[in-house]
Symmetry: C2
Subunit: 411 residues, 2 copies
């Protein structure tokens, strides 16, 4: 066959293989409405929303009432729906919906990071057993296609570490404080008004949301299934303008980082505020943007950034999953499948190492709970006191988070 | 079936589906040797190199001579090879090899951007006709997984624009001049010594390499097949420290950008030096790193960065393609398949618009070739003269590049 014999009629035939997708939707909040908008403006995707199950009967909705139902079964048992999209807040209810749908042989798209992180092993095995596809790009870092990139591109790259600003709401607050001089409370209020924050803002500012997403990243980057409860999270809720100024004087910025890095066969995994250089890639990630740095042995540092919160960016990540479903895409979970025994991965997480921390405190007594190896810097005035010290990581586990301490890693 | 009935024996079965890959390799230069290293350190990928076809009989090789042959047919006709990896410099010879291999039903991985860009339509149709897979992540932006991300993730996102620093060598030169005060020639020499530059450095500094890559990006981002000859490329070869200082005074940096953006049904596509803010994402991309900004209507701006040149980063991109081949991955070319008539895409490229340019010149006569609509700034001293002017884009087409002009877009 000569190459000149090839004509484009081939092209037409292949383009028509895609089936029409009819979506059964759970939830019509910020992301659900974003999805609705994005879907309505996508000319090429053959997908439409069927029934939408919502909880609140009294709420005014911006689309016709015929779409809505208050009964789960109206959506789950409707044979017209060949895809379930789950975008509700409640992680327990979400698990029931997603589990049910997978067992019914339906493909599912979700953005519920808490539900995914808390039940990762179960949901992984459910996919293997049922052959259904569960996609969740919208659950991690909004519009950044990080799950699929880790899954599809780095499967044979020896990854060393992953570090990310993956909570848009706390990053918005930090940026507002740093660049615009707002107080913590003013900045938090603005983040809530803009719809960036979770309904319970503690999930964002105390680092829980980052931790759930970090669990998803660990599974796809390293084939490691960790429970959120096993990962340390320290948040930004006690930050003050004193801390912001301390960083500024040193040309540093404070960012809430979720990180996982390989140390031999072990991993160090945690969520902590970090001082980072203002000129590095992560230092340029501002407001509701997210940024993720992936480091491989041969590919060196890769950096990904994009909007991490908000109705349309997350809606477009969900849309991208829906589109992948039309092409029968499933996560390959190649790194997980290579392993024999995945039900006790906490054994790979290192707990006994030194970490250099800036700790601002009110009362010297508060420092007693830290196992401090050495103090490198110490400051004390009437209003503010801090130390920079090398602290045994394991002693951070049981910190009472209510304390008025601000802790920040010094890299 | 209850979810607790699911056991992990399923996991073992699926993990063994991968066939062993035996690679017939063409070329053993910088990228070929990088691939060899990366492949040797990948524990999980079942791939090995069979025969390697090279041109130069006299060259000392760092691996055993039994691997090498000087006859193409020893590699192409060897039935042991189920994958051909093409990493040679010569685009014409590369096309023959890749075309032959595809017609023989073999899958092919290549990093030859010139060959791909010059023959995109042919190679696209050859893949449809033969069913073989042709992957080329290593051909664009080194270690950044941009082709696969555009292909798999943005297929239903309404993309607005793509702007990238996608030539590591010229970015290395610009960074060395800007941050370390080197002259253009000193910086070029260093880039060549480090192996970042193409064997003919004009391909890098005059923007040809960026243009080839831009063609690949246009195909995967917009489903648009453009010929390199139809795209304007202006390079950095005439830059001076005067230009660098001009940018610095304004807190700007000079970067060679390849860009394509949608304007209604048309596109503006070109490679030009640009002044960009030093604090934006692209402004932080230094040395041999590449950076790409993708803007969608709903996902907003996404940013990707990583090493764009060098033996190991490119080798690891090639490895990632080899790994994808083990999972029978093919580019979907979804945006191309949606279109009827792809053989005259130049009609979608806009030529008649105004662009604001900084033009440094020696002789007023040199400006005659530009169709200037208005001049916004004008400077003249004994040594240096420049204007900032709104220029009709179409008049840039026939610029004699040999002229001692430095042209830079002002966004």
């Amino acid at each position: 066959m000569s190459t000149t014999e090839i004509y484009s009629n081939e092209v037409q035939i292949e383009a028509q293989q895609t089936d029409r997708i009819n979506i059964g939707l759970f939830g019509f909040g910020c992301v659900g409405q974003g999805l609705y908008d994005v879907l309505n403006h996508s000319q090429s995707l053959k997908a439409e929303i069927g029934k939408i199950c919502v909880k609140d009967r009294s709420k005014q909705r911006k689309i016709e009432s015929k779409y809505f139902t208050f009964e789960r079964s109206d959506v789950l048992k409707n044979d017209d729906h060949n895809l379930i999209v789950e975008l509700i807040d409640d992680a327990d209810a979400a698990l029931e919906i997603v589990g049910d749908a997978l067992l019914k042989g339906k493909d599912v798209v979700t953005a519920n990071k808490k539900m995914l992180a808390d039940n990762f092993e179960l949901l992984y095995k459910l996919q293997l057993e049922t052959g259904s596809s569960l996609l969740y790009e919208g659950a991690c870092a909004g519009s950044i296609p990080i799950i699929r990139t880790l899954e599809e591109y780095y499967d044979n790259e020896l990854l060393k570490s992953i570090r990310g600003i993956i909570n848009g709401s706390s990053n918005y607050i930090l940026t507002k404080m740093e660049l615009e001089g707002l107080s913590y409370n003013e900045a938090l209020k603005q983040a809530q008004e803009l719809g960036f924050a979770e309904s319970d803002p503690q999930l964002d500012v105390a680092g829980f949301d980052s931790k759930y997403k970090l669990c998803l990243l660990c599974a796809h980057a390293f084939g490691l299934i960790l429970k959120p409860k096993d990962i340390l999270n320290v948040g930004i809720q006690n930050i003050s303008s004193f801390d912001i100024n301390y960083a500024k004087e040193k040309n540093l910025r404070i960012k809430l980082l979720a990180r996982a890095e390989k140390t031999g066969i072990h991993f160090r995994v945690y969520v902590l505020p970090h001082f980072i250089p203002e000129t590095g890639a992560l230092g340029t990630v501002n407001y509701e943007f997210n940024g993720i740095e992936v480091e491989g042995i041969y590919s060196d540092k890769q950096f990904f950034a994009g909007k991490g919160a908000g109705s349309h960016p997350t809606g477009s990540a969900v849309l991208s999953d829906i589109s992948a479903i039309t092409y029968d895409y499933k996560y390959g979970y190649k790194k997980l499948k290579k392993r024999d025994d995945i039900d006790n991965d906490i054994r790979f997480v290192e707990d006994d190492f030194l970490i250099k921390l800036y700790i601002r405190y009110n009362n010297r007594n508060d420092l007693k709970e830290f196992e401090i190896e050495s103090i490198e810097e110490e400051y004390s005035s009437c209003e503010n006191k801090y130390i920079v010290a090398n602290v045994r990581f394991s002693s951070l586990r049981d910190l009472p988070h209510a304390h008025n301490l601000f802790i920040c890693a010094v890299d």
